[in-house]
Subunit: 337 residues, 2 copies
């Protein structure tokens, strides 16, 4: 029998909590046999929500937490003060081994701060990066770091590259993933001070497949599997990806609806267009793990609906089964000893 993976889920976090979070948890346990979910938050609200669904009652538990951390609060302070918030209670379940992973659509800052303060870093990890996968025209690529460590140092970026490689190879299944650093030109001498310092360090890593610089224009073309960058730059890439994608699709819809002829055209091409563009739908890919913690912490979009919550829960299974954290610890302590 396979080991059961237990995922604690923040029932109170995100724009669509608790309804879509509860629904996502139900979908996840219906989808996969080896998952247990612990919904953390206001017990009465969650139980009322769960009552609407048919599911295996043994596989969803509820743990009460009467407080909520909002997006407006200073993250570190909120984690220290709100001991009975859903985020803090759930992270303690991971810390104490009662859960293997934690998924939240709540405050990014609080999840990042709480992950480090409560769950703690793997021995040897200097900074844990937030690493979403983003769509490309022929697959997906991992972005490390997209927002956890602004003003990071070169040695941090090298660790992001190593952890990102392990994740892409073992969770996503890409053999010998190509690692590139975001730069403003393809040549080695290009870049800002941080990139110029990091480039030779990455070049010297024998345990990753470093292919050099990548310009932002080539990211959507899938020219690398792991994209390394400082968190401010990564956050700009992630958000511009989402914003420009949605703005362009809005424009296209306007175009298709602008004349009677084009409306008929839209009707005929709609399903084919939908099929091609579904690869660019961020909700397919679940949340972003915070790599390098003693346990798995996954942040999903604040706007997540049930589908993204389900996918975020499911991705915890492969991560845990593949023992990613053991591999990270072994890699970092072997290569930097």
């Amino acid at each position: 029998m396979q080991k059961m993976i237990t995922v604690a889920v923040d029932a109170m976090g995100g724009d669509n909590a608790p309804g879509e979070i509860i629904k996502g948890a139900v979908l996840a346990v219906q989808d996969k046999a080896d998952i247990k979910v612990i919904l953390v938050g206001k017990e009465d609200v969650i139980k009322k929500g769960l009552a609407e669904y048919n599911y295996d009652k043994k596989r969803i538990d509820v743990v009460h937490a009467d407080d909520i951390i909002t997006n407006c609060e200073a993250p570190v302070l909120a984690i220290r003060r709100k001991k009975t918030s859903s985020i803090v209670v759930a992270l303690n379940l991971v810390k104490n081994g009662e859960a293997d992973a934690f998924v939240s659509a709540g405050s990014t800052g609080a999840v990042l701060a709480g992950g480090q303060l409560i769950v703690g870093r793997i021995k040897g990890v200097e900074r844990p990066p937030l690493t979403p996968v983003i769509p490309t025209i022929n697959g997906i690529t991992l972005l490390a770091d997209c927002g956890a460590n602004v003003d990071a140092r070169a040695t941090h970026l090298v660790q992001f590259a190593r952890m990102g490689s392990i994740y892409m190879e073992n969770v996503i299944g890409i053999k010998n993933p190509r690692v590139a650093i975001v730069n403003i030109g393809a040549e080695e001498e290009k870049g800002n001070a941080l990139v110029k310092e990091t480039f030779p360090l990455l070049k010297n890593c024998t345990d990753i497949n470093f292919i050099g610089s990548i310009e932002a224009r080539n990211i959507p073309y899938g020219e690398a599997d792991v994209i390394v960058c400082e968190a401010f730059v990564g956050n700009v890439i992630l958000k511009l990806y989402e914003g420009l994608g949605s703005a362009l699709l809005k424009k296209i819809k306007e175009g298709l609806m602008s004349t009677t002829k084009s409306k008929i055209g839209a009707l005929l091409s709609k399903s084919a267009l939908k099929e091609t563009l579904k690869d660019f739908d961020f909700s397919r890919y679940g949340g972003a793990p915070l790599l390098g913690l003693n346990g798995l912490v996954v942040k999903t979009h604040g706007s997540s609906k049930s589908n993204e919550i389900r996918n975020s829960i499911l991705q915890c299974v492969t991560f845990t089964e593949q023992k990613i954290n053991e591999k990270i610890e072994k890699n970092l302590n072997n290569n930097e000893a």
Copy 2:
């Protein structure tokens, strides 16, 4: 009678030189009465190219330059050594007052370095930013800086904001342009060290309409008219804009061509789609000026065709007529005295 504006154009720079550059120059003088163009480069080649067109011979001159600076050369060294290159010869025309402006699709690094070394900065300007306009769903926005000054300081970003405002107000005609700084969250306390230092300085500027932070996802929605950022971040934004735009359009074309039904749909909706998406065509907007020089230097895409060259030449007219450089000098020296 209006004053004639003289624009020196690098006939040898860019992927499509000299053919598309020559054609662009001809289109520009055909389009507007108050422009003279000086095509700089190999005289025999240019004259042969020009012979194909009908145009007012008095309005296009040729100045010979027998050398070319390529994209592979170290910019500063190339500017110092290649005195007879088209870029150096043309920049000297601006320096000596024989031309009001210079347009090049050649090496960005060489144009930036040459602009500063040969033409020189306006008194009071610390660093000249490269400032393209980029399309949004309801217009355009100016990006300052998109690649001239990596690792810039906070005071540089404040000057970018001021120069960008003057440009958008006087060249593009947007009254009281909204200025925002690229950040990874909307709150004032968010950001990296540079943004945290720059934010209060911008807030204190009484001569610009500073509206606070902008997240990258909101840039395509046109929420600001001038976007201020450090050059590395700006370059990532510009290139991801271009790359993601073209990748998504490629996907959409694939979708439209994937079934017989969708092909018919595509035929019916094609012209409406084209009309809506033409706003997202970068070539419509001409090149990016390097603001703050004693003369106007405009860098256009390396892939520019005649249409973009024409637009880049035409934009020099408004810039010069509106005396942007006098306004910049007056503003910076009044506000920072």
